[in-house]
């Protein structure tokens, strides 16, 4: 197990290197000179050149890349080109907001998705199953920014139950979490349902029944634990989508999170902040999937980690 975790952590290095190359190249391939943007439309070419020199933009790209990787390896992402504040000072508070949003949404997806999936599977073809799957289909097909706007329209503006924007209090958190968590809940519900249905028809469920166990015990102890294996995979993958979805949700609800920050700074060509932000997201994603892989070990005894 320890060996497995260490190996996975070492694999993180090439993954992060890959992410860095892609982000770095994308930033440098996008049209628009950062120095020009910083200096303003009317700046003289001399000023622009000066800024370029200060930021190191006059050096060849491979050299710039080398500098970036060297600093990043020591967790030094430099200062923002826009605000001159250290990148970590800019990033961390917003990172926590986004992480909170993502984690609450994940919990929302898992709780509602699994509960709905189990109900659907246990009562296959009942009205409960049909309505749950219909709602899941809606949840899946609805773009989350639109769902966010609709929720805001009904519950904040028409009914006035929740504040339409901001982040912090419980009433502010609820709508963004529903917005971001719904499509995940729908995917998890459908996955749980089909996985449960598959497991329920297995021979060992019949064995459990022949033993004289109660249906409830059969569903939760014997079926669910087996059915969870593919569901957990989906949960891990969902988390990536969640981080991406956070960008839109944050914009809709004017939440000052990392998604919003990254979008703003891409437009401002603030390379250090964008690069660091995306690296942080990649690290989180890889860690979540590491957790998923570790949880397999507990769910499926046939997996040999080492």
């Amino acid at each position: 197990m320890v060996k497995f975790i260490v190996r996975r952590l070492l694999q993180l290095i090439p993954v992060l290197l890959g992410v860095t190359i892609i982000v770095f190249s994308l930033m440098h391939l996008t049209p628009g000179n950062p120095a020009q943007i910083i200096a303003g439309e009317s700046a003289t070419p001399e000023t622009v050149a000066q800024i370029e020199k200060r930021l190191g933009l006059d050096e060849p790209i491979p050299v710039q890349f080398f500098h970036f990787v060297k600093d990043a390896a020591t967790f030094d992402f430099g200062n923002s080109w826009r605000t001159s504040l250290p990148v970590s000072t800019e990033l961390w508070p917003k990172f926590w907001v986004t992480l909170e949003l993502a984690i609450y949404s994940m919990i929302f997806s898992i709780v509602f998705g699994m509960a709905a999936g189990i109900i659907s599977a246990v009562r296959q073809y009942s009205w409960a199953d049909v309505s749950v799957m219909l709602i899941a289909l809606f949840g899946l097909s609805m773009p989350n920014f639109w769902l966010g706007l609709m929720l805001m329209q009904w519950f904040s503006i028409n009914l006035g139950w929740f504040p339409p924007t901001g982040w912090g209090s419980a009433s502010q958190i609820l709508l963004p979490v529903i917005t971001l968590g719904t499509s995940g809940a729908a995917v998890i519900a459908r996955m749980t349902r089909s996985s449960m249905l598959d497991v329920i028809s297995q021979d060992y469920i019949r064995t459990a029944r022949a033993k004289g166990l109660k249906e409830r015990v059969i569903t939760y102890r014997h079926a669910l634990k087996n059915a969870l294996i593919p569901v957990v995979t989906v949960i891990g993958l969902q988390f990536g989508g969640l981080l991406a979805g956070a960008v839109l949700t944050e914009s809709v609800f004017s939440i000052n999170g990392m998604g919003k920050l990254i979008v703003d700074r891409i437009l401002a060509r603030d390379f250090p902040v964008v690069q660091a932000g995306i690296l942080v997201i990649a690290v989180v994603f890889v860690f979540i999937n590491l957790l998923v892989d570790i949880s397999y070990k507990f769910l499926n005894k046939r997996i040999d980690m080492d």
Binding site: R206, K211, L213, L299
Partner: protein, 340 residues
């Protein structure tokens, strides 16, 4: 003195419903099982033998239902019990082992835990007591070093070992009746004999009654006291096992015996039964076996014979043995050469 009957099934009918279409998988099955004896239920795939067994414990799939008949276990009709009452019987008074030991155990729990579950639910044993009993049971079914084995997961055991675990689980609460649904079909031949011997020995030791479901007449000869031969969802013949081999009555039973290799009779070629098992969706109107029966007459094709009880206690579902037989009065279903 009449033997005590532990299980009496009469005119059992189990159907599956596909939309509005009724599939009669079991259509009038009757047999009885004296206490402490073994009854073999024999038939080809699709004859309804497994469904009969599953009907006894009410374990048939959701779209299936017992639509008629009685299953008297110690005088109680199992078809009329509440869900709770039948649950108390499952794994306790009546246990079942299945055909597929590879998939019949839950892969995510240790075998010890899976056996203990039955002890906990029916006898309220705590973990410590339960562990002791699990070790006892594993020893009983011949699993070496049970203390270590009980902590293993199913995938760490071979097929034969898993079937032993299934048997240990079935025996956990000292059942009065053990239903074994093709317990050896999925196992290697050498392991088959071991498992059958094990079941036989345990039956003697514990005084259980056993229902052995199989398509293998060799297994029947080795283990059973009585045999019910099933065809097309019905019992066509019920006999004591020695009589069945010596003096089979139904043409289908004769066909089965003729298609089985034997070491005591020298024949050049085995004789298969011609044709195929009828589809459950399209059962013949008369005798289910008539389309494949070499003796079939007009009567056989148009009218279904009853399962008729003879004086010697045997039962047969065939017009040949009735007063209304319209074929050759001297007909002999037996091929003398083969069935001596």
């Amino acid at each position: 003195m009449k033997e005590e009957i532990i299980l009496e099934v009469s005119d059992l009918r189990t159907s599956f419903f596909d939309e509005d279409f009724e599939i009669k998988a079991v259509d009038g099955v009757s047999f009885e099982l004296p206490k402490g004896k073994t009854l073999g239920i024999v038939g080809e795939s699709g004859s309804g033998k497994s469904i009969t067994a599953l009907s006894i414990l009410r374990l048939i799939a959701k779209n299936g239902k017992v639509v008629g008949g009685e299953i008297l276990f110690n005088g109680k009709d199992l078809t009329k019990l509440s869900e709770r009452e039948i649950r108390d019987i499952r794994g306790n008074d009546i246990s079942m082992i299945f055909q597929e030991p590879m998939t019949s155990l839950n892969p995510v729990y240790t075998i010890g835990k899976q056996i203990y579950e039955a002890l906990k639910v029916h006898q309220g044993m705590d973990k410590k007591e339960g562990d002791k009993r699990v070790v006892e049971l594993l020893e009983l079914v011949g699993i070496p070093s049970p203390k270590q084995r009980m902590k293993q997961y199913p995938h760490e055991l071979s097929g034969g070992m898993r079937q032993r675990v299934m048997i240990a689980m079935a025996l956990a609460c000292n059942p009065k009746l053990l239903i074994a649904d093709e317990p050896t079909t999925a196992l290697d031949v050498t392991i088959q004999a071991q498992i059958l011997d094990l079941i036989n020995d345990l039956q003697e030791e514990l005084g259980m009654s056993v229902i052995m479901i199989t398509h293998d007449l060799g297994v029947v000869a080795e283990t059973c006291d009585y045999v019910a031969v099933m065809y097309g969802g019905q019992v066509v013949e019920y006999q004591e096992v020695k009589e069945l081999f010596k003096n089979p009555k139904h043409p289908y039973t004769v066909g089965l015996l003729n298609s089985m290799p034997r070491h005591d009779v020298d024949v050049d070629e085995l004789e298969p039964i011609k044709g195929n098992v009828p589809s459950v969706r399209n059962m013949p109107k008369g005798c289910r076996f008539a389309p494949r029966c070499p003796f079939a007459t007009e009567l056989c094709v148009t009218e279904l014979p009853e399962l008729d009880r003879k004086e010697d206690g045997s039962e047969v579902r065939c017009w040949i043995y009735s007063d209304r037989w319209d074929g050759d009065p001297e007909v002999s279903v037996r091929n003398e050469e083969r069935t001596t």
